[in-house]
Symmetry: T
Subunit: 149 residues, 12 copies
């Protein structure tokens, strides 16, 4: 791995219903709340000289604007678009404004679920994807972005 000297900032975007994590279908997503996950991610970030900007919204428009606003201010994006993964051209377009590394994360293995969840509007404008590895997907994404800066 690269030497982690330079401090960077990473945007972490979570899409609709992820604020309900830990309360919903725990057999799929586990019992951790989003706060639990992000607080562990913050610890890891500090060790990697990364400042996190965490954002969750159930509004497609709010996610679009957050991504727009972070333009020029972050060196990487971790995004779990949740339900908007499969339908949002707007989030895709917003992400394509950036030239920093973008990692798309899904907690569950979307290929084991309903067929409409197998296609992502976002994948083609992201750098890479991590899916099916639960909450540690965020952690791996952070490592990956650190190594790409």
């Amino acid at each position: 791995m690269a030497t982690l000297s330079n401090p960077i900032k990473v945007l972490v975007v979570n899409g609709p219903n992820l604020n309900m994590l830990g309360k919903r279908e725990p057999e799929i997503y586990g019992r951790d709340t989003l706060d639990d996950i992000l607080s562990r991610l913050n610890e890891q970030a500090q060790n990697l000289s990364i400042e996190l900007d965490c954002f969750q919204s159930n509004y497609e428009g709010a996610i679009v604007e957050k991504i727009q606003e972070s333009m020029g201010n972050v060196q990487g994006i971790i995004i779990n678009p949740a339900a908007y993964t499969h339908t949002s051209v707007a989030i895709r377009d917003a992400l394509s404004l950036h030239s920093v590394p973008i990692v798309e994360v899904h907690l569950s293995n979307i290929y084991k679920r309903e067929e409409f969840r197998h296609h992502s509007m976002v994948s083609a404008v992201a750098t890479g994807q991590i899916a099916g590895l639960g909450a540690q997907g965020y952690s791996l994404a952070l490592t990956a972005i650190r190594n790409m800066n």
Copy 2:
């Protein structure tokens, strides 16, 4: 991350043409050879108390048999099925013999390439996927498997 006390064994399978890494379309796959990548992965493995069993073949049948033979002997599988990702029911069936964590890795972002590369026969029987993050995809997969054991 979990404390890494118990030693485990992980099978690393690489599919057709990956033996040509570093010689082929470097703008997509980078200049590292497969040996370069696996030797770095071995270093990481030792630090994580993991023994690697690395295997590459251009034969679908050979990959099927390697996966069969590792049944009961490994605690995790990392597989980059390469071209067989999109066509091999036989590798899918072999992987479904296992109940250990399986991480499917792709060096490139397959969603930016030809449409026939967007579908994987393997994804539905794997635990998770990592794609588009280059050679470090193997490293992240190893971390993920370590954390799941």
Copy 3:
């Protein structure tokens, strides 16, 4: 029908453009405004010992959040997702957080309209559907939920 002794609470969600009811294509939707319909529904509800929580929004995100917030507080949901019927995975995911009866209502017979209106993202997570029966669809849905509690 069941004896209606126990008081329950039912969430009534109306999606985009339903605030324009009575002003739009009356040959399809009739001349009643949404207020007219809901005020009649409230009368029926009181007779059935049901408290209604009525909500309309043109924002997908707002509908998602209303459904989230009602979790644990209602014993049934009536939802007319209107235009979001055909596109919203986010509303589907929010509804799947609930284990109470959910009745999907459409004023018009969506099978007589454009083909893209024939498919609903919500149907597979609802208990049942009522379509094409105009404003009384809400009333029938309320009776159905009363009978299921």
Copy 4:
């Protein structure tokens, strides 16, 4: 609701295998027999000044002819075409001879079952649909037809 003074007659058609209700997959359809359901429906009908003409057949041709014969004699039709829902152009054509309200009823939520059950040949010529609400679907349909006369 409208004042229920004028007596009307309603045809209730049940398609193939519904004569086996209560004997088949009770987890989907409940334990009521078709006789149980129709006898309760008859009680409700009397209260609403409605005379029911109930008909069940496993023959597509017999259902077609019953619908033809009722032309001019009934003020509404409730039809659960069961298996013929998805395949019968003949029943669709027979129903289109009528100009009275037609309510298509399905006991189960057909959108949670096999994909071929998601499409109905009948929906586009019916007034409306009620699905997934079990035996009370017939009762709601009867109320709806009463209100439309």
Copy 5:
């Protein structure tokens, strides 16, 4: 093969136009009439302590009712749905009422004929299929059912 002590009863259903066997396209179906085939099958059945109940109809409804009536009275079903193979949801639903072994038989290899004959509505609710082996398909099906009881 299992010892054939316990006597069982097996329903043999033949669908539309099979009463014309021996008179129609002999290059595909051979010169045997249905009576020839069933009389040979009866001989085999007696040797296996099996009582056959043979039924042929050109009416989908009649086939549905025969299957319904045999419920609880037979220990196996052999069905050649002929033309209804490809279109009948009603026969599929009737068969799914049974929990005894069901073997779907086709005289010809349906995969060598028109494309619409490649799909069977019945296969997913049958235990197994035998196709393309001519009249002996019935005989093999009988052996199979004997071995499953």
Copy 6:
């Protein structure tokens, strides 16, 4: 035209709901009843030394059997399968038993109606088709068969 010396027999089959002709959607099918049409056709037939055998049924199975029974007894078939045009493999199979000329007739232009009416299961086993020319389609079909004998 050929000299019409030899007497022949022609089967005229009409499918479901055609017994309702003249009572249904007159803007599409005209005001003639089926009896009106067939009685005019009989007059024409006598002039052409043709004996007609006219048959109408709403039952697929009955149509199949009528076609079977006419085998060897008729020198031509005129069939308007109506709703069964689009779904009946059984009628197709029965027709393919014959080697006499078969003319498929449709009163309306099926290509101006719903898309599912554009495909006929019967066309590939008929000699020819006449569609959209109203009741005279039968008359033209009779002339055609006369000329082919």
Copy 7:
């Protein structure tokens, strides 16, 4: 049939390669040349007080212009668009300029040939179709148009 007093004019259009009739695949189209067929058709026309305007071209544009020019001058159109049946929007648009009866004729049964020949661009703007009845299809079409004027 109607009394044939009033003289009318009918345009007869034949599309590409029909000038080769009698020289090409006689097992499908017979040995008659186009001249043979049209000369017999002219005889029939005279008996029916019809003047024919016969036109053949291998150019889509020429057929379009012939149809345009006949606007207002003919009381019916018989068209065998041959290969342009399946591809020509231009001929379809030209035909839709007319409000006189249009009969589409095909010599062979196009539903027994390659799949791309099963769809006609012209059918939806024609009055009716006659197919598979060989050269007499023109004769039947002429009778039909005579009866519609």
Copy 8:
């Protein structure tokens, strides 16, 4: 062009990410910001006695509401739905409330881009479309609406 005496009001709606114009993929959209474009459009509007009401939002719901609110207040609508072009039934439904001229504008030629951008949910309820002509598309749309009032 028509004489431009009567003053009218035109709603100009811009969808998600168009607030980033000039900052994003300039090779496709040019270097003008949305403000630059709208300020030039305002100049043109004044010359044409048109008052503009310009609105941009990244929220589908906000766009829906703006269109609703303008009902009865404007004589024309220019809309560039951007990413929502391809997915928003809600905006389509809101636009269909209006009976004034609606012109859909796209800066780039959407037929040269990804396939999912070739289909517009809005086109069928708009009066017309202008695409691929850059910022002057708005200007042409304004001229068109002026000419239609």
Copy 9:
């Protein structure tokens, strides 16, 4: 708008049946003839220092050759390919010989018409499209080309 000093030449191509404008389906295309439209366009052209070369043909080949011949002689092309829009690869290939601005014009909103009219073979090689705005579409196209030179 740009200062219109330099004189340019623009090719205006109209496809099949547009010579019938004003005589055909006036509710869709208006009562103007093509001459009316082009004569108004010529007036506008003179004001813009543009020389028009107007061409109409019903022959795909003639349109191809006109486009070929204009290569190097015009600074812009306005083309309404009419029926050839949906089928002509040859016109597409001819247009792709040019590097001047090409504007595709459709009088009607093709997205409100039959589905086969929704796809254009030409769009991907044109600069832009104007549809549904009637005859003024040509005028707007001319303005656009003027501004691009």
Copy 10:
């Protein structure tokens, strides 16, 4: 059954992962190993004067070659292509070299499993198929081949 005098030889081919039978998803395939099944099959074969040549491979190429080599040496083939059923054109081509009876066997009912398992590349070149009847499928296939020689 036929008198079994003449000795014949039958090739029995098993495809990828069938060497793992008894170790994998026993709820689908049972607990028998492939050796168990083939040893029982050998007993039956001896009784039928049949010599078996049993072959299993995980390599598509090896299966192709085994089929090639048996050409002229066997009087029948039983093949369970397992995963290669759905993808191998090469095995299909090799089988089509033979003119002896070929029976395709599947242990499980492939029509109850994932959709990609519903289609077989091999079926159209086999004589017939036996599926879903477990290990006795091989035994029935052997009987069938015996009866066809």
Copy 11:
């Protein structure tokens, strides 16, 4: 190669826009004009005792007629249908009049271009295809036809 004694005649047909060769997208088609290519081909033909009849047209109808006229006069056809490759049933039908060898030639590799260029209407009636080898494709085709005579 065969001894080239007998003189033969070969038709060489070039479709739309090939007259522009050398002026259009030279990176795909090279800088040779059609005349350059055909003059070299004529030299080769003379050496092979072949007389060439070269024809180019942008009109589908003209190509159809040229092919018709050559019937019986040529011993082979080389055709590059260019844009008509993908759409012309008429050229296919004309070619199927011939029983001489027909070689379809494409200068570029059509499988590397737009998807609609991957399908040829002509291939199924040609003897063979040569694509992607540039102008020498004609030369190879000539050799092939020489060897087949």
Copy 12:
């Protein structure tokens, strides 16, 4: 043709079942064995200063490795992938490692055979294709490669 001074080496790859040439479906492939064909090809090669490296395998993996090994050692590749044409991504990927001319050869016209043979995975990475010209396809390919070096 180019002067053939410089000696080059060409790899000739033949896929599965081509070792059976001359023994299989001679009406399609002729009676020549692969050895016959390659020995004639060798003669031609010597005349052209070409050294051939001929390879046949029924194993996809072996073909992949042969192609890999020839990298840098050959100046051209002739490949007839046979059955693997339609399914092998691995061979496609191996071929894309090369930058020398690659000619795909098929003995038969694959467009006259089953539909699944119409698509080639290899075409898009080859330089060109020759199909349907029998064994001389190899010879033409050799000439083409000679001319490209």
